[in-house]
């Protein structure tokens, strides 16, 4: 209400002054031209299908570095399939077909010279249901990506394991007994363990497929806090069906529907003033 009091001058110039103040405080992301902005990951003309069904119909998206981008949309809209295209997991699905390019720091991940294994190490993935390896301890779970990929130096592994467990706020909870089985942790802790495991292979980008949907509210909160911290150093792309989570956690949001990208923009804009009618209907709960 104080802005009304500010307007007491009634002179057009004062109105203009007030307008200027508004623009400066409008958004935390500086508006530079698109050429300057650093896009960590760019998906170009992605068309993906499996078993003959086209799940993703020509989607283009650019993901900014050190930011969180959320993908929302109703079930079956293709957002999970699209996510799996980004780290070449889609080709593991039965009868999967894919065209398009995915550029990480300018390099096409799908070009013939690139080994998919190498690319999967640059882009980490976390799944909906926590899935720590059942026969391994907490320590071994986090180190799995390292040890099973040939890293032998114990001291480096220890450093990485500690660093990753600290990043997911799990270190203090488990540091006394790292040899405990991974499955003995609670659901929320298991999911954070899986995130630590994904971070251990030193990816640049972290893909998260509904990471908190199987967790209770407190565990969800911890995951969201963690994401807000992680985005300072990583590029994070999160698929979620919880719109409030997208609002809380992401800087940019893309809305997908029936395989198309309907709208993409700053999260605040998508949820306060969506430009597309379908987007407006979806975010307001007018269809599931």
């Amino acid at each position: 209400m104080s802005s009304y009091e500010n307007m007491e001058g009634h002179y057009m110039s004062e109105l203009q002054e007030a307008d200027k103040m508004e623009t400066v405080t409008k958004s935390p992301i500086k508006h530079s031209s698109t050429e300057d902005v650093k896009y960590k990951l760019i998906a170009e003309n992605i068309v993906a299908s499996y078993d003959g069904v086209v799940a993703v119909k020509n989607v283009n998206m650019k993901f900014r570095d050190k930011a969180v981008t959320a993908l929302i949309g109703p079930s079956g809209c293709g957002k999970t399939t699209f996510l799996r295209c980004l780290n070449r997991m889609h080709e593991l699905t039965k009868n999967a077909k894919l065209t398009g390019r995915v550029l990480l720091d300018g390099e096409d991940l799908y070009s013939n010279e690139q080994d998919p294994i190498i690319n999967r190490r640059k882009i980490g993935m976390v799944f909906q249901k926590p899935n720590p390896f059942p026969t391994m301890s907490i320590y071994d779970n986090v180190a799995a990506g390292l040890k099973l990929n040939g890293l032998r130096d114990k001291s480096i592994i220890e450093q990485i394991v500690k660093g990753c467990l600290e990043m997911v706020y799990l270190w203090d909870e488990v540091k006394d007994d790292l040899k405990k089985p991974g499955m003995s942790l609670s659901g929320g802790q298991q999911q954070r363990l899986c995130i630590a495991r994904a971070l251990a292979i030193q990816p640049e980008v972290l893909l998260m497929d509904e990471p908190a949907s199987a967790l209770d509210p407190i565990a969800t909160q911890k995951i969201e806090e963690m994401i807000t911290e992680l985005k300072k150093e990583y590029t994070i792309i999160i698929v979620t069906h919880n719109m409030q989570q997208a609002v809380r956690v992401s800087d940019y949001t893309g809305f997908m529907y029936l395989g198309d990208l309907i709208e993409f923009g700053e999260t605040k804009q998508i949820f306060e003033n969506p430009r597309n009618e379908i987007t407006a209907k979806y975010v307001q709960g007018q269809f599931g």
Binding site: M1, Y4, M7, H10, L15, A18, D19, E22, M243, Q244, V247, F271, E272, N273, P274, T279, A280, V283, Q284, G285, Q286, F287
Partner: protein, 207 residues
């Protein structure tokens, strides 16, 4: 498809209509009585209280909706604007009351020439009616009109207020100054309502 929030949105629009009509009623009462020389301070006070009670009710309803349904997009803009506009209506009630207080405090003002006030009140009455309509129908044209109307009121106010310095009758000049001020503030708030409607429809604040 009816959502859980929809019945609450209907209730909100019902309450907004009610408070809007009360506000208009209270201003019309205040202005007419002032021009006729009647003292309606108590009546105006009662109306102002009623408006405040509705404002509280609207406040509870909107916060309840925000808490339960976490609305986004146009729902959210509507709810946010309803809070702002209902506040504006309480201001209408307040300023209407203030105008009646002038008459009560200053006593008989029949010797004052009310021309200046008289001209302005026509415009103000038109504006407040327009504001309520604008919010009820979410009509952007009406919002634009409110903006130009407010600009005109401003010009009129800035022209005539300094002229009161040269007035011979102190009592009349003071009364005129106060009432002019209140009328100008009412116009301001009516214009803010137009801006809120613009926000609901386009999503832009202060176009």
């Amino acid at each position: 498809m009816t959502r859980l929030i929809d019945p609450h949105l209907s209730k909100l629009s019902f309450l907004m209509e009610k408070i809007g009509n009360l506000a208009v009623q209270s201003i019309n009462l205040a202005i007419d009585s002032y021009l006729e020389g009647k003292n309606v301070r108590n009546e105006s006070h009662k109306l102002s209280q009623e408006i405040m009670a509705l404002y509280d009710e609207i406040g509870n309803l909107t916060f309840d909706m925000i808490l339960k349904y976490q609305p986004v997009a146009s729902d959210f803009r509507l709810i946010r604007s309803s809070i702002e506009v209902s506040y504006g209506f309480t201001r209408f009630g307040r300023y209407a009351y203030d105008i009646t207080v002038v008459r009560d405090m200053f006593g008989d003002l029949s010797e004052c020439k009310n021309e200046v006030i008289y001209t302005l009140t026509g415009e103000i009455k038109h504006m407040i009616h327009l504001a309520v309509q604008c919010f009820a129908t979410l009509d952007l044209d009406k919002a634009k009109q409110l903006k130009t109307d407010e600009y005109l009121v401003d010009k009129y106010y800035n022209k005539h207020l300094p002229m009161l310095i040269n007035s011979k009758n102190v009592k009349c000049a003071l009364a005129d100054a106060l009432v002019l001020r209140y009328l100008e503030r009412i116009a301001d708030h009516a214009a803010f309502m137009g801006e809120s409607v613009n926000y609901i429809v386009t999503g832009n604040r202060r176009s």
